[in-house]
Symmetry: C7
Subunit: 95 residues, 7 copies
Amino acid sequence: MNLKPLQDRILVQRVEEETKTKGGIIIPDTAKEKPAEGKIVAVGIGKLDKDGNRIALEVKVGDRVLFGKYSGTEVKIEGEEYLIMREDDVLGIIE
Amino acid sequence: MNLKPLQDRILVQRVEEETKTKGGIIIPDTAKEKPAEGKIVAVGIGKLDKDGNRIALEVKVGDRVLFGKYSGTEVKIEGEEYLIMREDDVLGIIE
Amino acid sequence: MNLKPLQDRILVQRVEEETKTKGGIIIPDTAKEKPAEGKIVAVGIGKLDKDGNRIALEVKVGDRVLFGKYSGTEVKIEGEEYLIMREDDVLGIIE
Amino acid sequence: MNLKPLQDRILVQRVEEETKTKGGIIIPDTAKEKPAEGKIVAVGIGKLDKDGNRIALEVKVGDRVLFGKYSGTEVKIEGEEYLIMREDDVLGIIE
Amino acid sequence: MNLKPLQDRILVQRVEEETKTKGGIIIPDTAKEKPAEGKIVAVGIGKLDKDGNRIALEVKVGDRVLFGKYSGTEVKIEGEEYLIMREDDVLGIIE
Amino acid sequence: MNLKPLQDRILVQRVEEETKTKGGIIIPDTAKEKPAEGKIVAVGIGKLDKDGNRIALEVKVGDRVLFGKYSGTEVKIEGEEYLIMREDDVLGIIE
Amino acid sequence: MNLKPLQDRILVQRVEEETKTKGGIIIPDTAKEKPAEGKIVAVGIGKLDKDGNRIALEVKVGDRVLFGKYSGTEVKIEGEEYLIMREDDVLGIIE
């Protein structure tokens, strides 16, 4: 089963942040930084502009992205958890 | 009796989510995931853009879609329950 | 006396929902479903688009429509009760 | 003394609603229906659209109109009470 | 010293409303009607429309205008009190 | 050190209002009139309009302007206090 | 690891404000001025305008900028703290 996001939405699989600090100390869950990291697994075809043309997304499948920890809607597809969010919820692409 | 949704609205029949986890354990209602699943049974003709052209919907009758659990307005047609919502409430199409 | 709604407004006469369930049992008022049903008795000439052209309404006089129970403003014309609402308050046309 | 409303504003003289029901029974003030009735005594020249053209009003001086009871701003001109409101506050024209 | 209002702003000198009723009875301050009256002493050059052209104001210096009692910002220029408001706060021109 | 405001922002140096009334009586701080006066020390290059052209500011460096007392963000540059605000926060130019 | 901000977002590294006053007295943290200072380390490719063209950013990598103390979202990249914000959160460029 696949999920095709509509318009400018993307489907993101959360990447577990490492719970170790630079010095290797494991920190409890509540101390982790705010933005979350994920991998894009599906993208929509883009929104329409005023002239009826699709606005291509700036992100693509496979991109690793940062996004606000509370962005998107959680969905479960075949037991796996994903997030559906709008491209505008993405803060940046990790290169 | 049929219902023709206006503009960019769609008529959706909720698909009951299976209340079993992957391992086959039945979970109570409150533990189910947030987004709901449904089948589109009717679609509007689309909104007008600034130049007076209809913007075709990205979804069509028969599509299985995910949407926020509290999206749309419940309607009862001949004893059957449906939801009328805007296309923008649809998170994605299940393929 | 008649009332000509302005712009994209419509004049709707509420159709009393049958207070019987499919099985014929009369249900009290508070148990009725949310959206209300009505018949359109007058329509406006439509809003102007950006180029100064009227946007024709998608509904017409005689259409039976569903709308949110709390949509519109109640008016009394010659002792009869009507609702004035915007076309956008109409959820769908019953066919 | 006259008042020329600006843009899409209109000057309305409230018409006292008859406080008798169809059957001739006088009802107290608080039981009257919500929308109010009035006669248009002056209209503005219309708003400008995006291309700098005036958008003609749909209502004209002399029209009897229905409007929300709390629409507009009360003004007193030579001892007479009027309401200044935007055309969009008018629900419909009584014909 | 003069003040040149920016864009679609106007400089208005409040005209004291006569505190006598038609019959000549002096009424206390709190009983005065809501909108205030003033004389325009300076106008801005107008806002820019989407094509970069100035939108001429509908009011001009010398116009007597009605405006909401709480519209605008009070300024004191050489001991005199004025109000700076947007043209849109003007309800109508007194002729 | 200089600060170049972005877009339609301006850098303003507050001019202390004289705390004497016309008659020469010194009034305490809380009794001063609302809008504040300042001198523009830097201006941005203007916002872009829909066609990608810069909209020139109506104010320029050296203008003495009135603005709402709580407009803008305070910044300290080399020990001096300034305000960064948008041109739209300026009520008028003192000539 | 690098982070490429999307659209009109920028990646900023905060510059610690000197906690000494002009006279050399160290002031506690809560007494520091409101806007914060930072250096831009990455910029997005700009938003699309209505015609589908990218709007170039007014800031560039290396610029020292002022921004509101609570602007942006904190991110940690390889142990270093940064802020992702929109260009519009930048108050001005320090020259």
